[in-house]
Symmetry: C4
Subunit: 380 residues, 4 copies
C-alpha cells in the first residue's frame, strides 16, 4: 500500500508492529469517547471555500517562542518511541528538523536527552513532575546542558488513566518485562520490527530517567514507576520551582479549561497546549478542538496557544489555526509513521501534512498562516 494519508500510516504500523505496541499507541483511556470526539469534532468543522484569489504567495511559517517553524506543526511528546523504530526518537527529530518543525522529547523516551541532542538538534523537552525533586533538578540541568530551547510541562497526568487495551494486551506496569516482550515477539511474527528494534535498537531503557527507575531499567517497568513517582500534590506553585531551575520558555501541556488557562498565564508560562493527552487520560472530557476557541479568546493575547488531539491532516491543522492555535502538535501521526517506516515515513507524513495545508490555505484564500482566523470557517 502506498501511504496517502495519516490513516494509511496507521494501517502500515498495525501490520509492522507487535500488537502490544500498536495498541499502546492507538488506544485511548476507558471507552475511548474523548479519543473519538477529538477526531469527529475536527471533522465536523466546515472550511469556507473562497475562489479566484491570487494564491501564488503562500506562507505557512509561524514564529513562536523565539523560533520560526516552517509550518505550524510539531511532533508531540510520545513515550517509548524507541520501541516503535530503532532509536525512534533520533529518527523522529531528524525528520522534524528536515521539515523545519520542532520535535518534543518525552520524559519517558527510550533515547536520552543527550542521545537525541547528539543528532545536532536539541529537542524541546517534556517533563512530568516527579516526587523526587533532586532528580527533577538534575533532569532540568541535563536539558539545559543539551541546549533544549523549550520546556513542555505536562500537567494532565497526576496519575495514569486506565487504558483498557493495554490491560487486555498485558502491557501494564505490573507485567514482568520478559512476559511482555515474549508476547510482543509471539503471535504473529513481526520480522521487520524484531530485527530493527528488538535486535538492533537496544538498549531498551528509558534514556532520560533510567537513573531514577531503579527496579528494572527496562521500558515496560516505567508504568509501574509512574504510578509510584508521579506527583498528585503538584499545584501551580510548583511552576515557580520549575522556573527557578529553567530559564527558557515554559509551555504547559494538558489544559482544557478556561480557568486553568488563566492560571497558566498567572504562573508565568510562555505557552500552553490545549490537550487531553490524545484521549488517553480522563475519558469523557471534551475534545481539544471544541475547547480551543474559548481558551484562545481568554489567554491568546498573553501567551502562545497550541493544541493537539485528533489532528490527522493538513486540513485539521488549518481548522485549529482558524480557531486560535498558533500551531498544532501531532502525536499518533508520527508514532504510526515511525512504526510504519522510520524517519523516511515521518518525512513523507510531514510532506503530506504540508501539501494538505497548502490546498486548504489556497482554497480558503489564506495566503499566510499567521493570518488564519475564524473567517476561514463556514458556520452555516
Amino acid at each position: 500500500m502506498r501511504a496517502a494519508s495519516v490513516s494509511d500510516y496507521r494501517e502500515l504500523a498495525r501490520r509492522r508492529l507487535p500488537n502490544i505496541f500498536f495498541e499502546y499507541i492507538d488506544g485511548g483511556s476507558y471507552a475511548e469517547v474523548t479519543l473519538r470526539r477529538n477526531v469527529e469534532d475536527l471533522e465536523a468543522i466546515a472550511l469556507r471555500q473562497r475562489v479566484m484569489r491570487d494564491m501564488t504567495q503562500l506562507d505557512m511559517s509561524v514564529q513562536t517562542l523565539g523560533q520560526t517553524l516552517k509550518m505550524p506543526v510539531g511532533l508531540a511528546p510520545v513515550g517509548m518511541a524507541g520501541m516503535y523504530g530503532r532509536r525512534g526518537e533520533t529518527q523522529a527529530i531528524r525528520a522534524a528538523t528536515a521539515a523545519g518543525v520542532p520535535f518534543c522529547l518525552s520524559t519517558v523516551g527510550v533515547c536520552s536527552i543527550e542521545e537525541v541532542a547528539a543528532t545536532g538538534t536539541p529537542p524541546w523537552f517534556q517533563l512530568y513532575m516527579l516526587k523526587d525533586r533532586g532528580y527533577m533538578r538534575e533532569l532540568l540541568a541535563r536539558a539545559k546542558a543539551a541546549g533544549c530551547p523549550v520546556l513542555v510541562f505536562t500537567v494532565d497526568l497526576p496519575l495514569p488513566g486506565s487504558r483498557y487495551r493495554d490491560i487486555r494486551s498485558g502491557f501494564t506496569g505490573s507485567t514482568p518485562l520478559k512476559a511482555a516482550m515474549t508476547q510482543a515477539l509471539d503471535g504473529i511474527t513481526h520480522p521487520g520490527w524484531t530485527w530493527d528494534v528488538f535486535v538492533n535498537g537496544r538498549p531498551h531503557t528509558l534514556g532520560s530517567v533510567q537513573a531514577a527507575v531503579k527496579e528494572g531499567r527496562r521500558v515496560t517497568d516505567f508504568l509501574a514507576w509512574i504510578a509510584r513517582n508521579f506527583d498528585r500534590s503538584v499545584t501551580w506553585k510548583d511552576i515557580d520551582w520549575v522556573r527557578e531551575n529553567w530559564e527558557g520558555p515554559i509551555v504547559v501541556k494538558g489544559v482544557l479549561d478556561v480557568e486553568d488557562a488563566r492560571d497558566v498565564v498567572r504562573a508565568g508560562a510562555q505557552g500552553l497546549v490545549v490537550s487531553n493527552h490524545g484521549g488517553r487520560q480522563l475519558d469523557g472530557v471534551r475534545s481539544s478542538i471544541s475547547v480551543l476557541p474559548a481558551i484562545a479568546d481568554a489567554v491568546g493575547g498573553d501567551l502562545d496557544v497550541f493544541m493537539d488531539g485528533g489532528v490527522r491532516s493538513g486540513l485539521d491543522v488549518l481548522k485549529a489555526l482558524a480557531l486560535g492555535a498558533k500551531a498544532c502538535f501531532v502525536g499518533r501521526a508520527w508514532a504510526w509513521a515511525l512504526g510504519a517506516g522510520g524517519q523516511p515515513a515521518i518525512e513523507r507524513m510531514l510532506d503530506t501534512l504540508r501539501a494538505e495545508l497548502a490546498v486548504a490555505m489556497t482554497l480558503t484564500g489564506c495566503n499566510n498562516a499567521r493570518d488564519a482566523g475564524r473567517t476561514l470557517l463556514d458556520n452555516g
Copy 2:
C-alpha cells in the same frame, strides 16, 4: 482475556453462561431503546478536566441512611442471581462487604434472606408488592428478623414488561422448567457453569418467596407467578401499609418523574432510586441519568436520591454524583461479573470502579465525593 472493564465481564459471562441466562441478564424490554439510552446518555456527558490541584487527599466515602459507604456504589437487586453463580447472592454480598458497599437482595433471589444474612452481613432487601398481604407481612418480618437495614420497594413492575429476547430464548413463565433447563444445558456445552451452578448450586428455588410460589417451586416458575401475583392496584397509600410493617428506612425504586418523586417524599420514604429497571420495563422511557437532575433538584433536599441504569464505569459514577445522586447502583455490572467468575470477579470489578472513580475525581479536581456537583461537568 484479562478483564479490564465492566464490558469485559460481560464478554466473559457470555462465554461462560448458558445462553438463556446470559440473554436474560443482558436484554432489555421491547426494542431496547431505553437500555441503549441509559448507556449513551451517560457517555454523552462531558467531564470537566481541571489540573494542578493538590489531589493527595481523595475521599470517596458517602453517608446514607445511617450507613457509611466506602464508595458511592451499591449492588442493585438482581433476580435469580443464584443461577449465574453457585449460591450467587451469597458470593455477591461477600464481595460487596469486602468493598464496603451495600448489596440489595431481590425478592426473587435464589438464596433466601436468611441464607444471605448468614454470611454475616444482612442485605438491604428489595420488595415487590404482592397481592397476598399476609405473605408480604411475613416477608417483612423475616427481613426484620434477619437484620436487614434498608427496605427497597420497587414500584415500576405493576406487571412485567416484555423482553423479546426471553420470549425468543424460551425463558418465560409458561415454559416448563425442564424444557428451559434442557435448553440451558444444550447447545454449546457450558461445563464450568454446569458443575458450579447446575450440579452444586442447588436448590434452584426462589429462597424468599418459595413458600408463596406454590406451583413449581423452581426458578423459572417465577415469571408466571409474577404475572399473577404482582399487584396493579398498588398506590401511594400502600406505602403506609408497608411502613406499619417496617420500622427502618424505605427506599422507593423505579421513579422517573418529578411528580412521582414528590409523592415519594409525601409518602414518607427516606430515599428513592431514579431507575427504569435497567431498560427492562417500559421501553421508550427516558434514561435514568437524563431525568436525574430534575428529580434531584426537586426532592434532593428531602431524601437521598440514588440512580441506576447504564452505569458501566467509575467515570459514570462521578457523572451521576455530579448530577445529584448520593450514590449509584449497578445491576448488570455485578451480574456479569458473577457469571464470569463469582465473588473474586465481583471484587475485581468493584476495584475497577474504585480506580476509575479515583482517576475521575483526581482529574476533575474533586477531593471529596460528598462535594461532587455540576461544576464537575463541562456543558460546552
Copy 3:
C-alpha cells in the same frame, strides 16, 4: 424461532415468502428515507413513566365512525394479500374480527369485496380514484351491497411511486406474469408458500377490479394497469362525486399536510389517515408521526384523525394516541404475519400489540385509551 414481536414476523415472512413478494411488502420508494423516518421518529419519542397508580381498570377500546374498536388499531389496506397467504384477505379479516378491530380491504386485493364479506364481516373498503367512472360507480355499489361500513379513499397515489426493490426483483407492471411467477418459484424453494398459495390459493386475480383489468387478469398485471388507469386529475371536487355514490362515512387516506387536512374537512369527510403510504410513494416526505400533532390540532375537533406508518408495537400505538390519533393502522405488521403463518399468526401479532399497549398504558398511568394525550410523553 418463537415470534416475540412484529419484527420477528418480518423475519419469518422473509424465510417463507418468495423473495419477490417479501421485497414488495418490505420495501419503500426510492432511497427509503421516509420508510426509515417513520420507524425512527416513533422510536425517538419518549414515554413518560408514572408509578403507583391504581391500574386495575384498563380500557383500550375506542369509538369511531359508529363502531367500537376493542383496541385502537386497524389493519391497513394492503394490496395483493392473497399472494402472501391462501386467500389472504379472508384470513386477515377473520383475525381482525376476532380481535375486535377493523380490516380494510384494498382496491387491489386478491379476494373480492364479496369473498371477504362472505366471512361474515363486511370489510372497510379502500378505493383508488380510477379514470373509468362507470367502473367506480359499480365498485361503490358492490361495496354498499356487501355492507361495507366505511369507505377509505386513498389520495396519495395519483401515480405510482418507484420502488427500486421491485424494479430490481423484476416485480413491475411490464413484466409478463409468467416470468414473475417463475422467478417467485425459482431460486430458493419455498415449499410452504408454493403449496399454500400457488397451488391452493387460486385464482390469482384482483378480485374487485378484475372486470376492469382487461389485459391479463392476473395479479402482476395490476401495476401496469394502475399506471394507465389511476387518475392524476382528481381534486377535492371529486369527493363530491364519491359522496353522491356513497352514503356511509368516508375516510381520506394519505394526508401529510395541515392545509390538505383542512380541505378534507371542507370536503365533508368523517375521517382522515395521516399517512405517507408506508414510505412507498414520495420518498423524502416527513414521517407520519412527526406531522400528526399539527394535523390533529388543526382538524381533530372536526373529524377522526388516524395515522399509519412505522407502527411496530403497542408502545408505538400509545405514542400515536398521545399525539392525537384516534387509532392507528398497521400495514406491514399484518402482511408479514400473514406471510409468516396466516390467520393464527395475525391473531398472535394482534395479541402482542394488545399486551404491549397494556404495559404502556399501565406504566404511563393511562387507564383509558380515550384519554391518551400529550401528558403521556416526556419531552425532556
Copy 4:
C-alpha cells in the same frame, strides 16, 4: 441486475470498470467528508406532500442561457470520460441530446471539442485557466468555431486536491502510463472494458489539450500536467480576459460562498454553479445544497444559479429547484452509467431522473418546474 436507480449504475460500473478508474470516479478528496455531506444533506431535506391537485399538466422544462432544457438537468464536465466507455464523451452527448439536456465537455476530455461537436450537437465547454494564455486563446477559438453555446469556467481547481484513493490505486500524475494501464488491465479481468475501451476506444489522449500536454500525450499524464499548468494566480480580473476571447454566455463553476457569488455577478458572468467539485477538491467544505439557498437569495435575480454535487435522483433535482437552482448538474451519475453500459445506460439513467422528477412534482403539487420554490419543502 436491472438498474433501478443511479446507485445501481454505480454498482454496475464497479463491476465493469478497472478498479483504478472506478475509484477515480467514485472518490472524493481526503477523508471524503464533503462527498458524504453532499449526499446526506440532500437526503435530509423533506419534501412537502400535497394531494388532490389536478396534475394532468406537468411541465418540467426550463429556459436558461437562451436554451430550453426539456428537464432541469445537465451532464457536468467529467474528465477522461473516454476511459470509461468507448469515445465516452460522444456517447454522453448523444444521450443528453436525446433527452433534451445539455452536455458539458471537460477541458480534459478524451474526445476533443471537434470530435464531440461532430455528433451534431456542439457541447457546452468547460475551461480551466491555464498558464499558457496563447493556448487558452486557441482553445476558446476552437470552442467558438465548433459552435459551443456556453462556456463553463471552473474556478475551484487552482491546484489539484488530494484524492487518497487515487494515490493508493497508483493513479497519479507521476505514475508512468504503462504502469497505470498494466494495473488497470491486471487484477480482475475486465474483458468488456478491455475490448470496448482499451482496444477499440483509442486514441487515449486528452483531445482538446493534447497539443499542450507535450510530455506524454496520454491520459494519465494529465494530472502531472495540471499540477504544473494550472494557474494559482488567477483572479476575477482574468474573467475580463476570457470575456474578450468569448462572446457567448459564461458560467462560473465552483462557487460556495455568497461573497464569491457577488463577485461572479460583478465579473459579468451569466450563470454560476454552486459546486464543491463533487467533494473532490477541498474536503471539509459544506455541501452544495446547504449553501445554495443563501447564494440563490443573494444573486438569483442577477444570473442563473445552478448546482451540482450529490444529485442522485429526480427527487434531489426537485429539492435543488425548490432551494433556488435553475437546474442541476450530475457528474458521477452519468459517469457511472457510461461505465455501466455506454449511451443506452445514460439514456435510461436520464429517463429514471425524469420519471422520479415527475413523481416528485406530482406529489408536491408542482405543475411547473419554473415555479418550484421553498413551499415545496416541509421544514417541520
